[in-house]
Amino acid sequence: MSSSQTTFSWLANQPMQRKIMMAIGMLLSLFVLAGLITLKALQQESLSRQQTSHTYDVQLQLSKIVQIAQASQIGARGYLLTQQPEELQDFQRANGQLAQAVEHLRALTADNPLQQLRLQQLDALSKQWQQQVEQSGVVAMRNIRATDPTARALEERRLQIDAFRHRVVKVTDMVALLDQMAATERLLLTQRNDALDKNIATVRAIAVASLILSVLLGIGLIWMTFRLITRPLQRMTELMTRLANHDHSIVIHQLHRRDEIGAIARALHVFKQMAIETRGKTWVKSSTSTITSKLQAVTDYRQFADLLTSELVPLLQAGIGVFYQYDEDSQRLALLGSYGYKQRRHIDTSYALGEGLVGQCAIERKPIVLQQVPDDYTRIHSGTGEAVPRSVTVLPLVLRERLLGVLELASFNHLNELQQHLLDELLPIVALSLENLGRALRTQALLQQTQEQANELRHSEEVLRRHQDDLTATNETLHARTIELQEQSQRLLASEEELRVQTEELQASNEELRQKGDILNQQKHVLEALQHETQEKAEELARASQYKSEFLANMSHELRTPLNSLLILSRSLADNREGNLDDEQIESARIIYDSGSSLLRLINDILDLSKVEAGKMELLLGDYPLVDLERTLKRTFNPVAQEKQLSFTVTIAPGLPAAIRTDAAKLEQIANNLIGNAFKFTSEGGVRVDIARPAATLALPQRLLGTPLLAIAVSDTGIGIASNKHNKVFHAFEQVDASTSRQYGGTGLGLTISRRIAELLGGDLLLDSEAGRGSVFTIVLPELAADTALEPSVHARHDEPPTSVRLPSSSALLPDTIDDDRAHLAPGDTVILIVEDDPVFARILADMVHRKGYRVLAAGDGESGLQLALRYRPTGILLDVMLPGMDGWTVIDRLKSEPGTRHIPVHFISAVDEASRGRELGAVGFLTKPVSREAIGGAFERLLHFAEGRTRHLLIVDDDADARAAVRTLLRHDGVVIDEAGSGEEALTMVLGNDYDCVVLDLGLPGMSGNQLLERLADSGRIPPVVVYSGRELSREESLQLRQYTDSIVVKGARSPERLMDEVSLFLHSMRSGGGAASVNRGIEHTLASDPLRDRKVLLVDDDMRNLFALSKVLRGWGMQVTMAQDGQKALKTLAEDGGNELVLMDIMMPVMDGYDTIRAIRAQPTFARLPIIALTAKAMRGDREKCLEAGASDYLSKPIDIDKLASMMRVWLHR
């Protein structure tokens, strides 16, 4: 190794790059040397070749010169022979060429002095030859002057011979010289070729030499490379492979070499160190993890200790390992497990802290290492022997400052670094594992405990389950029910609010009912209070009445006395015995007399009544035979019956007592009164008096039951009394109706007095009657009247008979009413009833009626007017509104509600200006006072027109005869004359020619359609009330069209006949103004020609047809031109198509497109940006106005519309 080191000390230490460069450099220099030598040889060769070629050139030139010399000779000879100039020229030309050639050759052989010399000789020879030729030949020739050819020829011949003979220099000399030269050159060539050959040989030798040298050098280099590079690298690679195979025993040489090999060797050394270290660590790690993983699988402490020692001791190459566990509770270390340990007597299996090395280590928590162990310390046993360990190591097991145990190891060797490291690494993990094990064991213990408990539990569960099984069945049912309940409760929850709201509704309605109940209760209380009050009042009244009666009784005498004289005097005046009075005066006197008589009767009756009421009437009881009564009555009334041509009978039923005990005079008074009345109100038939027991049907008062009674019934066949008036007739000053007195007279006190007397006699007076069926007054008396022992009256009985006597027709009770013709009425008379409280105006009206030849009935107040109308059924009624008592509105209402009078036309003449109300109530006309005679005339016309003949004219327009017949059957009614028309044209003619009260119109007509007919009728101004009876449904537009003429439109259907009758009878009987025509002109009077509204064009938009037409009528009345639209879209369309609308009245609540949207749509068009739009809305809530204005309305008017306000608003917006 050292030898090699020394051997390669210098070279080996060179870096590898340098080594390679050196090798390549040597090779390069060898090549360069060989190249240079070769180059040199080649140069030589080239030079040799050049010379050879030069020699050839010289030889060529030499031979050329020979030729030229020969040519020159030829030329000279030729000339001499021929004297031809051409020959001469050849000669001369050859001379020239010769000179040139010689010159050229001289140049070629400039390097060869020998040749140069020869050339000079040649040159001299040639010049000499030429001179010779020239002189002897040429010049001589020319100098021949002989013209004679022969001479000449001779001369020439001589010259020729001279020339040739005498010539010194010959061409042959020259050629010989040239040959010499050529020989020289040939020699030279041979020499040069030899040199060339020698050169080539040299080159060959050099090439071979360099080849051999190169091969040797290459071999040397390869060997050197192997020695210096490859082999060390191979060695390194081998080492690395071994290292990679974990062979850590490798020895690395050449560490000190300074080349790359050295660097690699050093790096490999480092790697080797690292590998050794890594293996140590890996060993530590793997040992650690092996032990750890094994420890983790351990399930108890002893196993743990055994495993720990058995694993660790071999690893540490120790002989004995002992593990003590620290028990915190007892503070002692207990032997837990060991390896290769044979227990000795003095070795405790348990140590306290600080006790022995183990205890000490436990306290210090640091490893303790003992090196020189005494012989009897402990021994390491094996099958082959035993020995004392040389080293003892005691290690604590600590985790988080907590001592877990102590491990003691005894070995022959000291622990090396790696083993120490392993211990360092392992012990904390072992500690951790130990603790984990402890924890796991504790957990296991707990688990076990838990499991035991669980077992117990399971056991008890078993028992329970058995119980449960029993319960399960029930439970399942319950569960199902629970689910059901849950669902129900969810449903309940969901509808809780709903329920609450419904409850609310229920509560509210209950409250409503309760409230109603309360109101009833209150009313009951009020009634009770009223009753009480009434009773008190009644008592008060009774007292007052008594005072009154007494007063009247006292007054009677005082009154009668002057009245008597008045009667007598007036009577005598009226008789006009002296004959000095004119008719008028007589009439006046008669009136005074009649009035006086009436007054007297009145006073008498009042006295009677007052006497009864004051209890001052005395009774004279005695037995009164019934036959006496019969006789008396017959005697009294037979003459009356004969006079009135009525029958009169008195019957006495069998089985009655012969006489009754009563006051005969009083009984007669009552009977007379009743029978008198009966005759008075009976114009045909008769009067009968039946004396019998009271009939079972008779409604006897309670007090009379149980006593034997007698009934004297007075029956007549007169006008009778309506059942609702039955009580009234018994009241003082009351008759069935006020008009009765006018026809029949009487004070109205008779029945009152009669009843009072009957009561006085212990009986009663009963009435059974119906209007128009006659009446039955029944006096009910006890057979034996109780002696009521009335105080004998202090006043004398009045003398006058109690029966009423016919009075003059003008009633004393209605002093303001004018005379009328009620007494002279005949059937077929046209009678006008005037109800008017102003007698002056009434008289004027009466005069006018009379002048027209009609009869007059007059009433000064509503009540009597109504009665007159009921009784006499006048042809027409002129009615005032402001009347005493019942006003005109009530009168007409009552007239219209009474079937008997509803057809009678009523015309108002009043100071009140409420024409529309009058018309609403069914009046045919309304005049406002003061009125002109012409206006009154018109009113009569109108009344008579409507009243005419009492028959109604009805026109049925339908193209189908069957349909007409059906309607005719439906509407056939007394007093209705029905005409039929089959076409529009026919109908038009008929309507224009007659006055129809109503037209029933089918729209679908051939020819002129129903609509056209209505249009034509409207144009003619004579449109009667129309009921449209349509066989098909109508569109909204069609309805709108028709509404101009009528609002009675009936679409045929199952229930339509019913409505058709309603509508038609409405026109026939209540005189409704038929649709538009009649009222269109209303209000026109109020607008002046200058009114800004006149002739202005307005668009009216409303879906409410009533409103649409009502408003349009008003607007037209103001002279405006009205276009109508039923909804927003139609309004927009109308605006777009029909320009010139100056104002829009816009309803807000409409279907399809409401007012807001419509206004916005209108405003969106620039044309209508400033078009006045007045919104009409039923909405009155806050913000509705703002909404209208926001939408773009110019102004706002809320419904119901105040017409005056509308007018002024429109005037503002239409102001020009």
Binding site: A494, V501, E504, E505, Q507, A508, S509, E511, E512, L513, Q515, K516, S916, E920, L921, G922, S1030, E1033, L1034, S1039, L1042, D1047, I1049, V1050, V1051, K1052, G1053, A1054, R1055, S1056, R1059, L1060, D1062, L1066, H1069, S1070, R1072, D1103, D1104, R1106, N1107, F1109, A1110, D1147, I1148, M1149, M1150, P1151, V1152, D1154, A1178, K1179, A1180, M1181, G1183, S1198, K1199, P1200, I1201, I1203
Partner: protein, 281 residues
């Protein structure tokens, strides 16, 4: 003492509502109103009515829930089937004689009755010439009514009602149910105008041949009932019909004097066909 206090609170609440928002509830039946307001106070405030008042004053957005809470939108389709049967048998045939039929459903709540009416009319073949005005003062209710979407769980009851009212087909022909909801055929809405109308303040807006106002009057005091009936009277054509809730009657209302009973038990009334009525412009 407590009730007195609450009466004062209620009074203040009603006046606040009127002064601040223009809604007049002073004419509502007090007992019912008090319960509704109490409920509102529980839902929207801390339980006392007076706590509700400042919120009502300063939070305009509270108006909608308050109105919603004050109205009692209880209804079902074909509620009280005999009433609808009577309408079908006795009223519609007479209405058929009018070329155009306007029906005013006053207080339409969530619209069930509107759709019931529409179905009734459709089946009677009258719907094409009918227009229904469905009004309520409660905007939220109107919106719901227009949607026509209801809980499907009511469908069974409604179907029973429908058949009891003499329905000719199946109610299912008129709705489609999905999930837990059913939506009524929107074609039924084609002749319905839903509009806000307050019976307390607003006026007549249409000429009606039939007015339905069921279970609304019970919440009103007598003067308000009278006003409302006068509105109906003025709105109706002569011979027009009025149908009230089965617990409501026309007694004690002077404005109702003109109505004649058609079926007093079912609260269907009619204006006399011959009575002379004219428009009130």
């Amino acid at each position: 003492m407590d009730t007195d206090l609450e009466d004062i609170e209620l009074d203040l609440f009603v006046r606040t509502l009127q002064l601040r928002h223009g809604y007049d509830f002073s004419q509502y039946a007090p007992a019912s109103l008090k319960r509704r307001v109490r409920q509102l106070a529980r839902n929207l405030a801390d339980g006392t009515i007076s706590a509700l008042i400042p919120r009502l004053l300063h939070q305009p957005e509270l108006l909608a829930p308050v109105l919603e809470g004050l109205s009692v939108p209880v209804s079902e389709m074909f509620r009280d089937p005999p009433v609808f049967a009577a309408l079908r048998e006795h009223v519609l045939p007479l209405l058929a004689s009018y070329p155009q039929i306007n029906i005013w459903q006053a207080g339409c709540a969530h619209g069930q009755e509107v759709y019931s009416l529409a179905i009734l009319l459709e089946e009677a073949g009258l719907y094409e010439r009918t227009h229904i005005y469905a009004t309520d003062f409660n905007e939220a209710a109107l919106t719901l009514a227009q949607e026509g979407i209801y809980s499907a769980k009511e469908a069974q009851l409604w179907s029973r009602n429908y058949h009891a009212a003499g329905g000719k087909h199946s109610l299912a022909d008129y709705y489609s149910a999905r999930y837990d909801l059913l939506k009524l055929d929107q074609r039924l809405r084609r002749h319905v105008t839903f509009a806000n109308h307050n019976l307390v303040a607003d006026e007549v807006f249409c000429e009606a041949h039939l007015v339905l106002c069921r279970n609304v009057l019970i919440y009103f005091s007598n003067p308000l009932q009278n006003r409302t009936l006068a509105l109906f009277r003025d709105s109706l054509v002569r011979g027009g019909f009025l149908c009230l809730g089965t617990r409501e009657s026309l007694d004690f209302a002077p404005a109702a004097a003109e109505f004649e009973p058609v079926d007093a038990g079912l609260r269907i009334y009619r204006l006399p066909a011959g009575a002379s009525r004219t428009a009130r412009p």
